[in-house]
């Protein structure tokens, strides 16, 4: 009797083991062409940009012929190391004449087993530089895209970035991002007396410039959408306060006059609003203020630390960080502060959320032992790690929402450097900076 009971109970449990075999919906009679190889970097040959007449220019590159070589070098450097392209040249390639720029001899290039070809022209027109850029599919023997720009001599590198953007957008389907600038914090000096200065540079590290002297520690810069100013946190006179640095006049002003510490500044996508966090009496809350000044509006009111805040691209929502549940987690609210809800439920802590300019992802730092840069959907689903190192933090998006910049600290020395990773997490690249660097912030594509 008792055995029977035991057997019965055992039998009752077995149906739970029943498995479901998913049906495989094969298509009708279609020919199924499957790509089961890893991505092959597209090989791109980039020749010297040809000129009709080798004349001196007002650029720091030299004559138009030297400029042509400089342009193609910048393009090759841009396209390298982002996991999509395998650029070659301009060195070691046959160089086209000015007349061949738009009509390359495809047979020659097919023999060199290159898939794509970038050719361009450079001319001095008045005091300006006219640059043409053309992309060809060598195998099919046709032009894919082309464009021309006229730039001031001082902006000649931008023409190369624009050509890189043209090629990148055409071949990846993504929005451009090379013609943009990056603000960051340059770090020098010993660990105990670290000097942190605000600095800006082009997306490839060129045109580097320090904005502050380092007398006051600077942190968390953010480029305004029109590139006219930078929001950042300065410990000027010992008080952590947010300033707006005007790049045209090299002057700065307080965002809001208060005796309380303010930090974590962010622009709205249209540049009309500024989010900041202010600590008062043990609580930290997020405020919103017009970029023109005026009264601040408090958006959070729960006890604890509510900090950060990043607008969704349509400016309707804000993602921020709060420890109201006991540990740092990521929350989303409407732009007026209503409907606050937690979206990160991944274990560990989640900090420094940043909404993608495309709106489809939120980047953040996931802290569970190590600090790792990760992305999730705006609803809080599908956590994906992009990096796996000791301490990667403070992600910020490239203007196209496909590359994330962050800073990585070395274990032990604490030396920090700027890194980029694409959304697949496969392609990491260190950004060259003259000194140690942290807190990178990518500006939008330049107008």
């Amino acid at each position: 009797m008792k055995f029977r009971l035991t057997i019965l109970l055992t039998l009752l449990a077995t149906p739970a083991l029943a498995q479901q075999i998913p049906a495989d919906p094969t298509s009708e009679a279609a020919i199924d062409v499957v790509d089961d190889s890893d991505w092959q970097d597209t090989s791109i040959a980039i020749t010297d940009f040809a000129t009709d007449a080798d004349v001196p220019t007002a650029t720091n590159a030299g004559t138009t012929a030297q400029l042509g070589r400089g342009l193609s070098r910048i393009i090759a450097g841009n396209l390298r190391n982002n996991g999509l392209f395998k650029p070659t040249g301009p060195d070691g390639l046959p160089q086209p004449s000015f007349g061949e720029v738009q009509a390359p001899s495809f047979g020659l290039w097919q023999g060199r087993s290159t898939e794509m070809l970038v050719q361009g022209s450079v001319r001095a027109v008045g005091g300006q530089i006219a640059v043409g850029c053309y992309l060809f599919d060598v195998a099919l023997g046709q032009q894919l895209t082309g464009a021309t720009w006229t730039v001031a001599p001082g902006d000649w590198r931008r023409a190369a970035h624009k050509c890189s953007d043209l090629v990148y957008s055409r071949l990846s389907g993504e929005n451009p991002f090379f013609d943009s600038r990056i603000a960051y914090i340059a770090e020098t000096g010993p660990k105990s007396r670290r000097i942190k200065r605000l600095a800006v540079m082009d997306s490839d590290g060129a045109n580097h410039r320090f904005l502050t002297t380092g007398q006051a520690m600077a942190l968390t810069p953010r480029y305004s959408p029109d590139y006219r100013s930078i929001l950042y946190l300065s410990y000027l006179n010992g008080n952590p306060r947010i300033y707006v640095y005007d790049l045209a006049t090299n002057s700065q002003r307080l965002v809001t006059a208060t005796g309380n510490p303010t930090f974590a500044p962010r622009w709205s996508p249209d540049g009309r609003w500024i989010l900041y966090s202010m600590a008062t009496a043990g609580n930290t809350d997020i405020y919103r203020i017009s970029a023109q000044g005026g009264a601040s509006q408090r958006l959070t009111s729960s006890p604890g630390i509510n900090i950060g805040g990043s607008f969704s691209p349509d400016s309707s929502k804000i993602v921020f960080e709060s420890d109201r549940s006991g540990s740092q987690q990521v929350y989303v609210m409407n732009v007026d502060g209503s409907d606050q809800r937690r979206i990160s439920f991944f274990g560990g802590r989640a900090a420094t959320p940043e909404w993608s300019p495309r709106g489809d992802q939120i980047a953040f730092t996931h802290i569970a032992g190590n600090f790792r840069v990760a992305v999730m959907s705006p609803g809080g689903g599908t956590l994906r790690y992009l990096t796996d190192s000791w301490q990667d933090e403070a992600p910020s998006w490239a203007p196209n929402g496909r590359i994330i910049q962050f800073f990585r600290s070395e274990r032990g020395s604490g030396k920090a450097s700027l890194w980029q990773v694409d959304l697949t997490g496969r392609n990491e690249r260190r950004l060259p900076t003259p000194a140690d660097a942290s807190d990178p912030a990518w500006g939008p594509i330049r107008p």
Partner: protein
Amino acid sequence: MASRALHGEDYAGLALAAALHAGLLALLIYQPGPARQLPAPERIAVTLSEETGLQSASPEPQAQAAPPAAPVIAPEPEPAPAPPGAAPPSQPLPKVQAEPVAAQVPRPAPRPIPKPKQRVAATPAPRPVAQPRPAPRPAAQNRPAPVQRAAPAPAARPAGGSRIADDFLKGVPGAQANAASRNPPAANIGPQIRASFAQSVLRQVRPNWQGRVPQGVNTEKLVTILAIELNRDGTLAKPPTIVGQEGIDDSNRAQAQRHAEAAMRAVQLSTPFQLPAEFYDTWKKLPPLRFRKST
């Protein structure tokens, strides 16, 4: 009895059963992580043709079929009379035919080992025990299908013709040609042949699609379906047309067009297709091509 049974060991048994169930339930609920990834087996491209042949079909529709039998036929052998009650005819035993050469020289014990060219007759075999002729080693034999020699002397059969396995090799009635083709004639090209052209196209397109799915988030979900029409020389009669795209979401929308473009490029790079011109009507309009990343 029931109340008395639920004492002592019963509680122990019940407790054990409950504990085991709790354990099983816990195991099922908290399965330890995702299943371990086994190394994927090497890929084999398999194409299933799901076309049905509504017409009779053959690789060589106009071919003359083979004649029903070989040119020279031996006379019909007399079946050995089976004594009544010997063997139920519902139990046809496969009959192993000895090689004619071996049979020409009467040997007391021909080796009954089946040669590779053995033929099986479908006629019910009489039991050897009941045979008037003494079978070699009749009693001691323990084999399932003992040797059965044809009743007429094998010498009566000249070389060449054979009626063995008539039921299998009937051929086509009325066929005249002298072994011109082994295929029966039919009105049309069969689905297998169409599928083999599709296979051929696949073999030619596939290398140009390797590593060509654009990089990006969720691009492995994208599927581009292209229709192509070909000229007799294997070139494209017109640019490939996009029949449809599947798997587009917010993250891979930017790559969808690039995906289609890469698929069209793969087709263009594969032209001219190497296909037999005599079957042009069959492959001038092929089934649509589905371009995707392996999952």
